[in-house]
């Protein structure tokens, strides 16, 4: 069975935030929630690197381990999803997740957060595939339609890859072989020269 994975090729990502926009639009996520974000390390310095982050769909997912209502489940494709009907918005998954993937639509008095929202790998949730209820709660279910997450599909430089982990790894390995040699001989220095 396929194990779905995201991989962001930091040598290709140009911080266009197209993935963030694609995700927001496709899934119509609540105001204030960003299921995906781009982080630039060493921003404005020579050799800056950008990387697009969302839920990494961990095999041993910390969010799932600490959830007091046990609302997380992993699909046969290795996608970590959660049931918003069970979620109580306690925030524990947010405390546990290293990537800051779980987010909450509201912060009100007495610590009320609302139901957690996170990247679904465009695979919807535990309600009927492509139903209105599914879209309202979880966003698009592209995986059930044989499509990949829109963030990766729309990535202009094909930095963000999504799909079966083995295939993603093959594509990435091929890129590395084509680039050849050590990392410092491709990417920034190859494109702009080592003096820049």
């Amino acid at each position: 069975m396929a194990k779905m994975k995201f991989l962001c090729d930091a040598e290709r990502c140009i911080e266009c935030n197209g993935c963030v926009t694609a995700c927001k639009n496709e899934n119509e996520v609540p105001w204030g929630v960003n299921r995906r974000r781009v982080i630039t390390l060493g921003d404005g310095e020579v050799g800056e690197k950008s990387i697009s982050v969302a839920c990494m769909h961990c095999t041993d997912a910390p969010c799932s381990a600490v959830c007091p209502v046990d609302c997380f489940y992993t699909t046969d494709d290795g996608i970590v999803l959660h049931d918003k009907d069970l979620c109580i918005g306690c925030g524990y998954c947010f405390y546990a997740c290293p990537f800051g993937a779980p987010q909450y639509p509201a912060e009100q008095a007495f610590g009320v957060r609302g139901k957690m929202d996170k990247c679904t790998f465009c695979a919807g949730g535990p309600v009927d595939d492509n139903s209105v209820a599914e879209f309202d709660k979880y966003g698009a279910n592209r995986v059930s339609q044989g499509k990949l997450p829109l963030c990766a599909e729309m990535c202009s430089t094909k930095a963000l890859l999504a799909g079966d982990g083995d295939m993603v790894a093959d594509i990435y390995r091929e890129r590395i072989l084509k680039r050849g040699d050590r990392p410092q001989t491709w990417g920034w220095e190859k494109a702009y020269g080592s003096a820049v």
Binding site: V66, D70, I88, Q184
Partner: protein
Amino acid sequence: MSSNTATANAEKSRRRFKAMGWSILLIFACAIILPATSYLIPTETAQAQVVDDKNQRANFWRAVREGGSGYSSVKGPETGVFIQNGGQNWRQLRNGPISTYGGWALILAVLGCIGFYLVRGKIKIDAEISGRKVQRWETWERFMHWFTAAGFVVLAITGLSMLFGRLVLIPVLGPEGFSLWANMSINVHNVVGPFFSIGVLAMFLFWAKNNLFNAVDMKWFSSGGGIIGSAHPSAGKLNGGEKVWFWVVILVGLIAVCGSGFALIGWLAQLGIGDETRATMQFMHKVHAIGAILWIVMFFGHAYIGTVGTEGALEGMATGKVSAEWAKQHHDLWYDEVKDKAVQDEPAAAGPGVSQPSTSTT
């Protein structure tokens, strides 16, 4: 001549020994110093630098792995942090020692109370009840106590549901049923908590000066509070054990548990104390969980002693008055102070209208 040769030979061998000695010293010195020259001459360091240069991308990502942050156009708290490492530690502590040892501590506390009851039984009032009573707790004190106690029970049940519900309640209620319960629990917990904290704070303000330790308490501790045997150590209005419980409530309860609770619902951050980063929340949650379990364990002992464990103790907090015999047995020094104010309880046969104010003497 022969003596000349002898002196020459002796001179020669002395020089040889001298040379040998210096040579050995030099060899030792070199053996120690020469390997250390690599610290002075930067060849090794330079080589390491070269390796690092060749692998600078690895260093780049290593910094990310260690929690470094960058820029993100998505605005919000910590959106620039790629990997927050504390969560894994929090997960392992919460799902591991805190719930394992905490769970056993709670079970053992209950079993301990039951075991103590089976071994020691109810602590009876030795003297015959005369019906004379002394005022122990004023109405406002009893209100403060029961207001806080009710809040405590609600918070303990809802809080423990959050920690152990997945293990204990989901098999009973099912995922949907438990979700409803947990949702109710977390909201009740977050709303009752602040009001409960006011009750604990009031206890601190009004009761702290009665709970300062004195020499009588030291004697009380050294005789183990009279747990073993029938001898009952002297005590004032509050005995050493009650004072320990009071300070657990204040130090563990008010400061650690209530304080971390206010941090967890974001009130401290709104007041400008601390922040709402994940590291803070993880730390506060650990403090909250460990402190609360300790508090509940102590509470079991308090509730046991105050109800089934000791005859005549509950009526003090329920009605405000305790029988003179109970007071004499458990709080002899205090009884000496207040015995003049003891009143005869209205006889059961007497009709209404003969009740007397508690301050009057008979």
